[in-house]
Symmetry: C2
């Protein structure tokens, strides 16, 4: 039996960060991983999907600027794009991450980890079982898997999930995508760029959780790429036949595609973790407190997708920093800083989750939508601005189209949320995230000058749209 201060189950980016922070805090740490160290993000999600998108994206930018477009006489090289993606995922070899674990003194156990009791984990590895004991904590960082909808024939049709779609070695001639979220938007964009005939089946429109104009812009963008978007739509049956996957729609029509990609939500990967041994029902999301500790179990943490707070890699890593730090602090008997925005809590999960959809146009959001803010009882003012009117955007691309929305708390005069839609808005988002997280008053934001002529000058237009709080407010703001 090997003993560690902390055992982390799952060595994706979340598990790696929990382990890293705890190790930096002086704890001995083991991580358990049954697949590749580095996780879905590195191998089957964020990284390969962005690699699949970038080549066409770079080309489209050049296509949209007079003087540059004349130099482009060829087409996207799809095999080269796929090969570039293979490079980014290191041909699905995790040597780099394994080396990193070793370099920071974290032990890796390869195999399936199962909790066998309080602070005990059994790893079934290819070279036999390992019994591990944790002095202080076990962290479940097993992430999530694609939800396969309960539609007749769906499972038997062997649909692609994000894993197959991001690791494919050739582009199918046709692809049906079931879903209307980020996975659908990004992979429809990527495969349409490869020349695949893409049909999106979105039950209720694209990007339904965001400001309505975001999904509408992405729909327009996809249609401009030749994507057939069916929404609202019901899929009532699925069957894989010799000529492809047949999807029967509620209106009686049928769609046939070489492959079917399902991007319709996620389910927790907690079903085979032995949680029952400590009185927790497996297969559900794990309910945690603000320090990411499973309620009722002072030694057990669930970090990242597994706790269902926010299903985003970067936010899971954020939680992981708090969790790793608080596990170390508790182990050492140090002060736990669990007030809002403290070191040991994931306050931003509620207030400032960034999300970028790398479609064309891109969508970048942080914080609350207008609707969410109102439902949260805030007195809200919404400022909209046409991003195409910003000089930096006009210079960026001929015919640039984009839209921005800022949601302001009228009582506190702070930004609650920002939504940006347009080409290359991804890097504009972090300014909004800092404004929201920092609770920087609007009056002070007027002193944050955007460089001219950048797209960030949007900020000035949003502030002008809100108006400048007068001196009466100004002199009390700080």
């Amino acid at each position: 039996m090997a003993t560690y201060d902390l055992i982390v189950i799952g060595a994706g980016p979340v598990g790696e960060n929990v382990a890293d922070r705890a190790a930096q805090g002086g704890l001995s740490v083991a991580v358990v991983e049954q697949e590749l160290v580095g996780g879905s993000c590195s191998f089957w999600a964020c990284i390969p999907s962005k690699a699949l998108l970038r080549s066409a994206n770079a080309l489209q930018h050049a296509h949209s600027v007079d003087g540059a477009k004349q130099a482009i006489t060829g087409e996207l090289d799809v095999p080269a794009t796929l090969a570039r993606r293979n490079w980014f995922v290191n041909d699905w070899q995790d040597g780099g991450d394994v080396d990193w674990l070793e370099s920071v003194g974290i032990d890796l156990y390869r195999g399936h980890g199962r909790i066998t009791g309080e602070r005990r984990v059994l790893v079934n590895g290819s070279d036999g079982p390992s019994e591990l004991e944790a002095r202080h904590a076990v962290a479940v960082c097993t992430g999530s898997a694609s939800l396969i909808p309960d539609i007749p024939g769906m499972v038997d049709a062997r649909p692609w999930t994000n894993r197959e779609a991001t690791s494919a070695q050739h582009a199918p001639s046709s692809l049906a995508i079931f879903g209307g979220g980020a996975v659908a938007a990004e992979l429809a964009t990527a495969y349409a760029g490869f020349g695949t005939t893409v049909t999106v089946l979105a039950r209720s429109g694209m990007l339904g959780r965001m400001e309505p104009f975001a999904g509408e812009a992405v729909e327009r963008g996809l249609r401009a790429l030749g994507v057939d978007i069916r929404t609202p739509v019901a899929v009532v049956g699925v069957e894989r036949l010799a000529d492809g996957v047949h999807l029967s729609l509620g209106d009686g029509t049928t769609i046939i595609a070489e492959e079917l990609l399902v991007g319709a939500g996620r389910v927790p990967r907690t079903g085979d973790l032995g949680l029952e041994s400590v009185g927790i029902k497996g297969g559900d999301w794990l309910d945690v407190d603000e320090t990411l500790r499973v309620k009722g179990h002072d030694w057990l943490y669930a970090v990242g997708d597994a706790n269902n707070r926010v299903l985003q890699t970067h936010q899971g890593k954020y939680q992981a920093r708090a969790a790793g730090d608080v596990i170390a602090a508790r182990a050492k008997g140090q002060h736990v800083d669990d007030l809002p925005w403290g070191t040991h809590v994931a306050t931003a999960d509620h207030a400032a989750v960034p999300h970028v959809v790398f479609s064309d146009p891109q969508v970048a959001v942080v914080g609350l939508t207008a609707d969410q803010a109102r439902k949260a009882g805030k007195r809200v003012r919404v400022v909209d601005y046409d991003l195409s009117s910003v000089s930096g955007a006009e210079l960026h691309a001929d015919g640039y189209a984009g839209q921005a929305r800022m949601v302001v708390d009228e009582d506190r005069e702070v930004v609650l949320g920002v939504t940006l839609v347009g080409r290359e808005v991804a890097e504009l988002l972090h300014a909004a995230t800092i404004a929201v997280v920092g609770e920087v008053p609007i009056h002070r934001l007027w002193h944050a000058v955007p460089a001219f002529p950048t797209m960030s000058e949007l900020w000035l237009r949003l502030l002008e749209g809100f108006g400048r709080p007068g001196p009466a407010i100004a002199t009390t703001a700080r």
Copy 2:
């Protein structure tokens, strides 16, 4: 004699903004302009220079991504690029800005404005003189002009300034550039992209006021474009002959170029404004207080380059917002909010001036360099990070190279300055500007999560480099 609450001399972006804010505050406003309404920025500086750069920039991006680069078989179309620039400057017609002035009820006087006494301006227009009187204030927004260095033969050689270089209708076969600042860096990049043989003569390196690694990276970038950079170098004589401009260097060698561009500093355009009539020496920069009012003259303001606080269009516009608002407030007898970061002062001029150099790589800076912070008596910690290690940068371009520096006040644990070098860093800057202006504590910045995989994840690396302030600090920060 026409009477207004405010008379603004100079209708560049700065004058336009002073006029606009004052008009929004309820004042009657006249602006006087002897050239084009919209000013240098719109017609001979920011806008056309970025337009000249963008086409090659977009093409270089596509060139640097495998899968995309295979589609590019042609060259930059220089005539199309110049035509696109012509579109952005509206063929040097200012109708749009003139229409805007009219739409907001601001009167335009075309001609040379001269102060003839306290609150009096005489406009010599093409259709005769106009005598204007200001009830409350006159604002000098005449900007700056290129400094022509006092080198034998320089003036007679009729060098280009930014005006000629940004409005040229063809690319010369060869161009010598005297200077090492932003104008030199950007226009060397643009003309090298057009196939011009470019030689840069920089007395003491490139971008000397910034962190040293910024200028070094720009030098490397220019050399990669084929630019011949001579530094340190002395130019001792200039002569325009039939075969071009001959520049005699201090080492006895001669450079011959079809055109010579001078980008070696600025001089105030205050020499012919009648300032002597109110006891101010013309031709100098105008010394102003924090509300942009000329010291000793309660009715006279100098906004933008003319006051020599910061020679940047966006910062001049920022000053203009404060100045227009304070002129209106004083005219109406309202409270003047002139505490630091108040509505009526330009505090960011001292703490948070953003500056982007649109070279390849781009350079984006805000706030203090490490050296400036130390000289200001701050206890400073510097965090450096290799931007090429950020996944978002790797995805953006094959072989991405970049560097970032964050300068932190160790006593207050706030960011004092950030320098970013690399392709497409321009839009990353505003996050830093908000952090500096908002004085967001490092501890809180840890909660500002960058979306993965964007280049903005740099922030996480910078914070990790600084370290996470412990709970003792955390609990007192907010």
